[in-house]
Point group: C2
Chain length 375, copies 2
């Protein structure tokens, strides 16, 4: 039995050795020149990965901390249109409830967002739009560009959670009019969890609110960032790891990296198709399948334990469904320091688990996926 | 020239190799059993180090995040008496300004706190007392027990920042009536920065406020802690490091650990005395010198650069004065994975820097410190 499971989940994800061992360095003074260089290099690389010229700030905290920093600094007391087609869309709504006047523009998880309702809300004076770009709970990629166009047309701020897209899929905050884009270190960047990064537009700064939480006071972060510092003690090892992770991403090249993620997700979807299993997400002309997570529906009579439990026992962790779809789907992440070997291992294991459960899959999804990966 | 400076500051501090390399482990599922065990073991050990039977919660964030969690959950709208005799006492006042109705009960940095003013404030209805137990900006140890007695007598909540005392000096939150005690990972525990830990009494829970920041919602942390989890994605490597750091502290034994810190600080104070230099802190019968940091005043005509700059060039970092006492003092930290070799190295280097600057020190502080350490 191996000690360390292979994580094929939509985060946390396997980290390259270079990233992991960067953390082992002896403590350094976070007010000194060496750490300043770490911040400077990491910030510069993150801007390239985010595809933005906006300010780029980092916070020691999870992705949720990044969400709250965005909402508490720029949306207090405002009318907020929260687009929701999964768990994390709803989290942005929940955070918004503490600060503003949010409405939940919701569709069923994994189905297209109600864009007509958004347009109406904007016409009726919504001042902020929140979106989860890639909703991993349902494995759907939402149309950020289209939504950005609507927000801009009505002069609304656009807050985008890019936690599971930035670093693995196309994001263009500046072109799309994203005023705050947020990511977390432990997803597409394949670094450890614990750092949130935000890009902030001038339009967002112009809407700065009084009295955000002290720890999330983004003007203080901006002031410190000008000196390549952070206002509060940073988790230095996580910055060392993130710097390495960003360097690895840019060594691969963002174009190649995005193509790799698309191919990995395509391989998983191809396997599901050949198996005769349904995908959970229901994209349309504007919405797509996620390229960093794939949600596959269990057929009648197959339990989560028979598939996900079996796979876990053999050393790979995939994710189950969350909240009301618990037990109804399983989700395979395709992000992080993973490629063909890991994809084929998890698919072969899933295929074997269905066979062991006596379920007649339609075809050999593993071979079909391999064809995609080899192509 | 060595690459990694020795940090002899009041945090961050040198970390043992076991702590540093614990972080290099491959990513694990933070909702799985293995991480649950990490949380459980770390929490149990932290309770022993905190000397508390209260709930013990951990947050991915700096010590300031821990302060804000305490203030935002338990002090909203309340009359808060903030005791201030240094930079961090003032930070608790600043955080309190965002949530309650604080008054700053201040004395000059490093001088005894105005306890009569506190008693009066409590008589006039102050509902919360905030204290920095060990104020590193001025290197003074404040009388937490006495202040806890006053708070209890008037039924006030007592919030204590123990960020630079817990793990290296005596703390008895339960005996002293501390309702929330806070520490950070990168100080006396000699782990990397990025985790805050809080002990929370039933009296604090009974005063729970509505709508704290989403990321600092302590009831959510408590609910997750019951399952050995955290409500938001935790910085797993920092937990692995903190578990190791707690284990090392308990292997040493808290009594021996506290004695070692006292001896190290005593050695530094002895050197200053033999040198004929003044200490910055002005303790009285209730207040003491800090055992984790010592602040030494520069004599007339000696610049920060001549001492601290020279020492830094030779490979050791000590801290300067902050804010209005910048350039007037230097501070030597005595915490973390340090002992006699590091103490003697920094003292010898400081002594040499004074000689190089042409300042006639009264005596050989290094030899005197060595006598303390050898005793």
């Amino acid at each position: 039995m191996q000690n360390e499971s292979l994580l094929m989940m939509p985060g946390p994800v396997p980290m390259p050795e270079r990233v992991r061992f960067a953390m082992a360095r002896q403590a350094m003074n976070h007010r000194g020149a060496e750490f300043g260089q770490v911040v400077e290099e990491t910030t510069t690389m993150l801007k390239e990965i985010f595809c933005t010229k906006n300010d780029l700030l980092t916070i020691t905290g999870s992705g949720t901390a990044g969400m709250e920093a965005a909402i508490s600094n720029f949306c207090q007391g405002k009318k907020i249109a929260c687009l929701v087609n999964g768990k994390f869309g709803d989290r942005l709504y929940q955070v918004s409830q503490r600060y503003g006047n949010p409405m939940s523009l919701a569709s069923d998880w994994g189905t297209p967002l109600p864009l007509e309702a958004l347009e109406q809300a904007l016409e009726e004076g919504a001042e902020v739009v929140t979106l989860v770009h890639n909703e991993t709970s349902a494995a759907i990629l939402n149309p950020a560009e289209e939504i950005g166009r609507l927000a801009q047309k009505h002069g609304a701020l656009f807050i985008m959670d890019g936690i599971t897209s930035i670093g693995a899929d196309e994001v263009y905050p500046d072109k799309w009019g994203v005023d705050v884009a947020i990511t977390g270190s432990q997803k597409c960047l394949a670094a450890p969890a614990g750092l949130a990064a935000l890009s902030v537009s001038q339009k967002a700064w112009d809407a700065q609110c009084e009295n955000p939480p002290f720890y999330f006071d983004l003007p203080a972060y901006k002031k410190s960032a000008a000196k390549n510092q952070t206002p509060f003690t940073p988790a230095v090892p996580l910055y060392l790891a993130l710097r390495e992770a960003c360097a690895i991403a840019l060594e691969e090249g963002m174009e190649a990296r995005i193509a790799r993620h698309r191919m990995m997700a395509q391989a998983v979807r191809t396997a599901a198709d050949v198996w005769g299993l349904s995908l959970f997400a229901q994209p349309d002309a504007l919405h797509s399948y996620s390229n960093t997570a794939t949600a596959i529906c269990y057929p009648e009579g197959i339990t989560d334990d028979a598939i996900r439990g079996k796979v876990k026992n053999l050393g790979i962790e995939v994710s189950g469904g969350q909240d009301h779809i618990k037990g109804k789907i399983f989700r395979i992440g395709t992000m992080g320091a993973t490629g063909a070997p890991e994809i084929l291992a998890v698919l072969a294991m899933v295929q074997g688990a269905f066979k062991a459960a006596g379920y007649p899959l339609k075809g050999d999804g593993v071979s079909a996926a391999c064809e995609v990966l080899i192509a």
